[in-house]
């Protein structure tokens, strides 16, 4: 092999992460660079691996529920809801309406909270420092509602298998209504800061384009898929809880670039407010727990796959029962893990600075990727 001089060794391998603020956790990306251009990338994951799926095999069904909160820790309510629903499907339990509406309200609030965190940090990554303060201010209001409802802000453990542990607190409806009234105005403020901002548009338009075909082939779901123009939302396609009884639109993008995904998420927040308003209308007093015994023991040999639309995409739980109090196997399909696969496709040919934008736009949480 001939010795390479600095003139022809134009390919450079750079490690981005695992300790890098723009990778949102402990993601390590090996970048092959030609100058500033990215030729290829490879993700190294597993720094946050805790073996959640294996832990499930040694826990009872109820004991595993708090662990699900710790996967996608910015959307704990949604994670817990997906798991509870999967086990309820395994047991064949029907939920009382009050529990369903409550779950939907909290899940949509969590979607807004997750998108707010995404918006703030994504803008911060791209050099816009102001939005992060505003989005965290509104997120704080949502977390206060969670705290008053179930006693925890992030790792909520809000739902139990078969319904809710806690009934709504007295001022819940006023709190949520107040939030719904002023929050759309705040979204307008974020848009005022970003949507038409020259720098923001230059940094995001045409960056990280993912075509609809590629997105489907890679198994990408959630706002990333919808940003590519696909009209796919589990809430519409396979309605769970009572999503078939509420009206909402599924926003989609056109070009599949970072800017479109930003617009999709902004629209999703508006739609979530719309869903919450409808849920509040239908919330009536009633029982909050279905017919589930103290000891959860599903019949042997049943397996169930249940997926819900999390803030980041399709969140699925595959639960196998062997007739004991512990699940035989729990397999989790986290949206971030599959969405991360699209990273290589999206970064090729872009600048190193755009890699930061693209990692941000996928909206990954490493707790969920590594589990």
């Amino acid at each position: 092999m001939a010795e390479a001089t600095f003139l022809d060794s134009n390919e450079l391998l750079v490690n981005m992460g695992p300790q890098h603020p723009a990778t949102h956790g402990v993601l390590r990306v090996k970048l092959r660079l030609d100058g500033e251009r990215v030729l290829g990338s490879e993700c190294v994951i597993g720094y946050l691996h805790r073996g959640v799926e294996k832990i499930a095999e040694n826990r009872t069904y109820a004991q595993f529920a708090p662990y699900t909160d710790r996967m996608d820790y910015v959307a704990a309510v949604t994670n817990g809801m997906g798991y509870c629903e999967a086990v309820e499907k395994l047991l064949g339990v029907e939920l009382p309406p009050r529990a369903q509406w409550t779950r939907m309200i909290l899940a949509e609030l969590q979607r807004i909270a997750s998108h707010l965190l995404w918006l703030g940090t994504h803008a911060l990554d791209l050099g816009a420092m102001t939005p992060v303060f505003y989005t965290f201010r509104e997120r704080e209001e949502i977390l206060n509602i969670f705290e008053s409802y179930c006693g925890a802000r992030l790792t909520t453990h809000a739902f139990r298998i078969g319904g809710l542990q806690y009934d709504l607190y007295d001022e819940f409806e006023t709190d949520v209504r107040k939030f719904c009234d002023y929050f759309p105005g705040k979204i307008d403020e974020y848009e005022q800061l970003l949507t038409t901002n020259r720098i923001w548009m230059e940094r995001t338009q045409g960056v990280g384009v993912l075509s609809a075909e590629d997105a489907i082939a890679l198994g990408v779901t959630g706002p990333v898929l919808r940003g590519s123009g696909m009209h796919w939302d589990i809430r519409k396609a396979q309605p769970y809880e009572a999503y078939d009884k509420v009206e909402f639109d599924v926003p989609t993008g056109e070009h599949g670039d970072t800017y479109d995904r930003y617009l999709v998420r902004i629209q999703e927040m508006r739609q979530s407010v719309r869903i919450i308003r409808q849920c509040l209308e239908r919330l009536e007093p009633g029982p909050i727990f279905g017919k589930v015994g103290k000891i959860i023991k599903p019949p042997a040999g049943i397996e169930v796959y249940h997926s819900i639309e999390g803030p980041k995409g399709e969140l699925g739980y595959f639960v196998v029962s062997d007739g004991t109090v512990n699940p035989y196997r729990v397999r989790i399909r986290p949206p971030s893990f599959l969405n991360l696969q699209a990273l290589d496709k999206m970064v090729r040919g872009h600048l190193v600075a755009d890699v930061v934008a693209i990692i941000g736009t996928i909206d990954i949480v490493l707790g969920e990727v590594d589990r």
Binding site: T130, E147, Y149, G151, Y169, L194, I199
Partner: protein, 150 residues
């Protein structure tokens, strides 16, 4: 042309700046001066555990039935009891390992008599790991407020 002029006069940037400066008034401050000013926590907040006594008699409400210890598999709660002369269970020791606790509230749900409760106290930091293992007297009387030393 219109687009060009917008670009030239930085209209969009100025609109954003106007919003930013509208928040520059002191009444819009959102910062909480933590050690001086304690945040109000919700009534249902799950913080430091407490073992409740009967308010009038002062006897423990715990009946040493053990579901709280079984509710969670990490063995963070150990309930010790002995049989009295009339074959009743009587609580002797109760340890709670906070370093393994994730404040999920499963033990609280399991308690049939409202003896074990997660309280609103959120300052549970200690200087050593052993300090996080709370015994019965600490759980009943509540932790001593931490005095920070240099």
């Amino acid at each position: 042309m219109r687009e060009r002029l917008r670009e030239l006069f930085l209209v969009d940037l100025l609109r954003g700046l106007r919003l930013t400066f509208s928040y520059q008034r002191p009444s819009a401050t959102y910062t909480e001066q933590y050690p001086l000013e304690r945040p109000p926590v919700a009534e249902r907040y799950r913080g430091a555990p407490r073992l409740n006594n009967h308010p009038s008699t002062g006897e423990t409400l715990c009946i040493a039935c053990n579901p709280c210890a079984l509710a969670y598999t990490e063995n963070l709660i150990v309930v010790g009891w002995e049989r009295t002369s009339d074959r009743k269970k009587m609580l002797t020791t109760f340890t709670y390992d906070l370093s393994r606790c994730m404040f999920c509230g499963l033990c609280e749900d399991a308690c049939p008599v409202d003896a074990l409760e997660l309280t609103q106290d959120f300052e549970v930091a200690r200087y050593s790991r052993e300090g996080l293992i709370w015994d019965r007297s600490m759980l009943e009387e509540g932790p001593e407020p931490t005095r920070y030393t240099r």
